[in-house]
Symmetry: C2
Subunit: 275 residues, 2 copies
């Protein structure tokens, strides 16, 4: 049995609606650290096996959770568990910064960047480009029904980056006006498909049709070493509009062929055929 | 100077937000009829020249309005004007019914039809298919921000047709589950582009990517005899979300290459290269 405090973190992870894979992995790492502060020896080892299963069950096909559980050894040594959990958090934060640094190099002067939903990796890229003194503007979707785009608009306002908010349905219309597409990723399959907020696939299709380069940005721990795109389990959170139930799968799947590259902390990954 | 009553109809047309090209053309025809009831001779002729300009100005690039003004002769004979205006309305209604009849033939048993926004021509097709005893289901977008999709959901409920409402951003995800796409059209250019509610282009791209046949449905008076796709003027109605201005072009442009055919009252039009 896991301690109540650890269980509460996992419940919080399960209940999460808006924040994505990076946040979930960080929360999971915190649960590991807490466990290591409370147990040792055989009891810890048993609890580590249990927490691995619990964390995987938050989302069976999410690479960030899978990779987190692979990163933490099953051992009775609490110091080791704690230091690995803290290392995971530290590496995640460094990865995000490095993605910002690498990704910002893709942004040319007067670039018109189109994005969808809210990605902390994309925000990091825009911040880094701003620090480098680059001028660019952003087209962003409001991202119905949770309006993550409005959260991004608030951040861009703080950064003094000019932007336009559009409806999700105008992704096609506005991708014609963009010169670069940048999106985050919740998950990347072994065969290179990018799982991100539903609508990302539409943006990729529209960019492809209008010859706008389309990049994803993701820490390497979001790449799943085994998962195939057809195995991805997509969470749904239906809601009601004027008395009608509205289907609401949170993510969609963009195949490799529409992606110019994935910006990671190690560099930009491109499909093997293009190397 | 046009009479106040006629001017009021034109003002109503200009203020219209949701209803599309069929409604506008019908309103325009009603304005013509009213004019013919109030004037004759030289006064009528002058007013007809003025109303032609006013109606075109409601939307400079809308085929239905352009074709209406070409349909009504400029003459001092009020009986002729009235009968042509009434003929236009009657032909429009007959065209809609015939589109329903022809379009419903495209629907096979257990078809899964995806559509976007609300089109009275698409609804007519579904009604006709229902009358013919066909079983099918419909995937429809809520169509943010005016939720025309919810209006369609209400109609389908009355017809006892099973349906699912989705967010606009899930068009890509759900086009994979569809076997046929049917949309309306606000306007069709001389070079075959379909102007319809923003998001239609995304649906066409997703259907193309998933080999789902994509059809538009439109009365022939929505085909513009001269307009090219790059000349289309798209109306915008921006709104505010959580304090941020949201761009809101009402329509987007789907090029011929993604359209399997346009269902008209004369039959299904297909691109010449495919004949």
């Amino acid at each position: 049995m896991l301690p109540t405090e650890v269980k509460m973190i996992i419940e919080e992870m399960k209940a999460e609606r808006i924040r994505g894979a990076s946040w979930l992995a960080k929360k999971g790492a915190e649960a590991y650290r807490l466990l290591a502060e409370m147990m040792e020896g055989e009891e810890l080892e048993k609890a580590l096996e249990e927490i691995r299963e619990e964390i995987i069950n938050v989302n069976m096909t999410m690479a960030s959770l899978y990779n987190l559980t692979r990163f933490i050894p099953i051992t009775g040594n609490p110091t080791l568990v704690k230091s690995k959990a803290e290392e995971f958090i530290k590496l995640s934060e460094e990865a995000k910064r490095e993605i910002g640094n690498i990704g910002s190099e893709l942004i040319d002067e007067n670039e018109v960047i189109i994005t969808h939903s809210f990605s902390s990796a994309v925000l990091e890229i825009l911040k880094s480009a701003r620090r480098k003194g680059k001028r660019f503007r952003v087209i962003l979707t409001e991202s119905n029904p949770d309006y993550e785009g409005i959260a991004l608009a608030r951040e861009l306002e703080k950064l003094d980056v000019p932007f336009e908010v559009i409806t999700d349905a105008q992704i096609g219309l506005f991708s014609k006006k963009a010169t670069l597409a940048l999106v985050g990723a919740d998950n990347i399959t072994q065969d290179g498909a990018l799982i991100n907020k539903a609508g990302t696939y539409l943006l990729a299709l529209a960019c492809h049709d209008n010859s706008v380069p389309f990049y994803g940005a993701a820490e390497s721990f979001k790449i799943h070493p085994e998962l195939k795109s057809e195995e991805v389990e997509i969470i749904e959170r239906p809601y009601t509009r004027q008395g009608f139930r509205v289907r609401n799968y949170l993510f969609d799947i963009t195949p490799w062929k529409y992606i110019r590259g994935i910006i990671t902390e190690f560099g930009v990954l491109i499909p093997p055929k293009e190397i």
